[in-house]
């Protein structure tokens, strides 16, 4: 069994993420300009929005994985859903934390009962619940089926999160980049796009490693039964051999009693 989940592909992705982050940091923190109304607080856009994008990506992966397990019992896609939900929790928390920090700078409060913020919090809890449900179900197939049905409910929630700013008037600003165009230009737009690419690559790196960990864990789960059976058989064989040895020892220890020899009468009489 492999002892590492790394590969050439993951190393390349990791190097790209590290180098890209090293380039993105000065772009985001220094080279791009301040916003007219938000000032330097606008720089959160280069972290908060890509984190939200990767949160959506995770939810979509969970949804597809759930569909594929329910339709085709695809173990591969079940493991994709498993990895995506865990990583989705991480990025959802990142969205909430960066959003809270950004909100405190711009709105003067860490939290408002805004439609987008509330629905994002709900989505985060559901993703965590998906992870908890998988961890609480001991049976491999039962785990996949139960979490798959829950996984189907995540996509409508993500749709509500995304369109909340359009459906309900709240504190959260509308989309910076949309079908009709972008509200940011030039280096800001490039930095935003670049950050999104880096974040997506980081997501892919995490997904690949987590998928491989899940694969190894599943092998252990499934292989564990076969291993246990083999061990029980070996134990039974040893027990049989021990019993035979003990029987031999017992025979060797027990003195042989002289048995009377019965002489037959000579033939033909005396």
């Amino acid at each position: 069994m492999d002892s590492t989940t790394g590969s050439k592909a993951t190393r390349l992705m990791g190097i790209f993420v590290l180098l890209g982050t090293a380039l993105a940091l000065p772009m985001a923190l220094a080279w791009t300009g301040r916003d007219v109304t938000q000032g330097d607080a606008v720089r959160f856009i280069y972290l908060h929005v890509p984190a939200a994008w990767t949160m959506y990506l995770s939810v979509f992966a969970v949804f597809i994985g759930s569909v594929m397990w329910l339709r085709r019992r695809s173990v591969f896609w079940d493991m994709v859903a498993e990895a995506a939900s865990e990583i989705g929790v991480v990025f959802a928390l990142l969205v909430l934390v960066t959003g809270a920090l950004w909100g405190n700078l711009t709105w003067g409060t860490y939290w408002e009962w805004d439609a987008r913020m509330t629905s994002t919090a709900v989505l985060t809890i559901l993703l965590a619940g998906h992870v908890a449900l998988r961890q609480a179900t001991p049976d491999v197939d039962g785990r996949a089926t139960r979490s798959a049905w829950l996984g189907l409910a995540l996509l409508p929630n993500a749709i509500i999160v995304h369109y909340a700013v359009d459906w309900w008037r709240g504190l959260h600003q509308e989309a910076t980049i949309g079908p009709t165009g972008a509200e940011i230009q030039d280096l800001q737009l490039f930095t935003w796009m670049f950050s999104a690419v880096i974040m997506t690559t980081a997501w892919a790196w995490l997904m690949t490693h987590r998928f491989r960990v899940g694969f190894l864990a599943r092998q252990l789960d499934v292989g564990g039964v076969s291993t246990a059976l083999a061990e029980r058989r070996a134990e039974a064989d040893r027990t049989w051999v021990d019993q035979v040895d003990r029987a031999d020892d017992l025979d060797a220890a027990t003195p042989v009693q002289a048995t009377p020899v019965h002489r037959s009468a000579p033939e033909g009489g005396a």
């Binding site: 619940g129 449900l133 089926t145």
Partner: protein, 224 residues
């Protein structure tokens, strides 16, 4: 395969009969709901104005919390005696079983809500009105809560952490219902406009929850 409606009516009758014989709703859940109302009163300082203003929210929070108990009980009726296999092999339509169980929870919740409505009128001093909107919103929200709770109960049935996991999974999904029902009640009680839209939102969630539950119940029963 027995038809969906026939299966639903059989399971509804079975679950209500089990409840009638055990008296768990009347003997345990109802007193718990009244205690919740009293606790809200103590926590919010028995200031009538605060309690009156918060009546719709407090009512629906109480309904949500007791619905978790009702949903767990609904899922555990067969599990306690190991009768889940019997249900699986009975030939009843799985969608019908889900609908029957949901309706049983609806009946229990409606009984609780009638008592709770009296309770908020007496304890919080809020007079009820706008009956058409109130009853419609309550009905739709109750169906949504019962369907989501029954589905959640089945998802978590038999798990060691099932009792704590059920509220974590179901309550976030019912946030739109809590919001819609509370807003619809507020509109009904204060005579404001817009309540029907909120009631409609509860209806949408009810339909989605019923469809998801009916589609998933068969495979969840097999895995249980």
């Amino acid at each position: 395969m027995i038809s969906v409606l026939r299966s639903a009516s059989l399971v509804l009758r079975k679950d209500l009969l089990a409840e009638w014989r055990s008296r768990v709703v009347v003997g345990q859940i109802l007193p718990f709901s009244i205690v919740l109302l009293l606790v809200f009163g103590f926590a919010l300082d028995p200031d009538r104005q605060v309690l009156e203003a918060a009546t719709p929210g407090l009512f629906w929070i109480t309904v949500l919390l007791v619905s978790m108990i009702a949903a767990q009980r609904s899922a555990a009726i067969e599990a306690g005696d190991g009768a889940t296999d019997g249900l699986r092999l009975s030939g009843l339509d799985p969608a019908g079983i889900f609908i029957g169980k949901t309706l049983a929870v609806v009946v229990q919740l409606v009984l609780l809500e009638v008592v709770l409505a009296l309770g908020v009128t007496v304890l919080f001093g809020r007079e009820l009105g706008g009956w058409l909107l109130l009853v419609t919103a309550t009905g739709l929200a109750t169906i949504a809560i019962a369907a989501a709770g029954t589905l959640g109960g089945t998802l978590t049935q038999g798990l060691a952490a099932g009792q704590t996991l059920l509220p974590v999974l179901v309550l976030p999904a019912l946030v739109p219902v809590l919001l819609g029902a509370t807003q619809a009640w507020e509109a009904a009680l204060s005579g404001q406009d817009g309540g029907w839209g909120w009631a409609g939102m509860c209806g949408v969630v009810a339909v989605l929850a019923l469809l998801l539950g009916a589609a998933s119940y068969g495979s969840l029963l097999d895995e249980g």
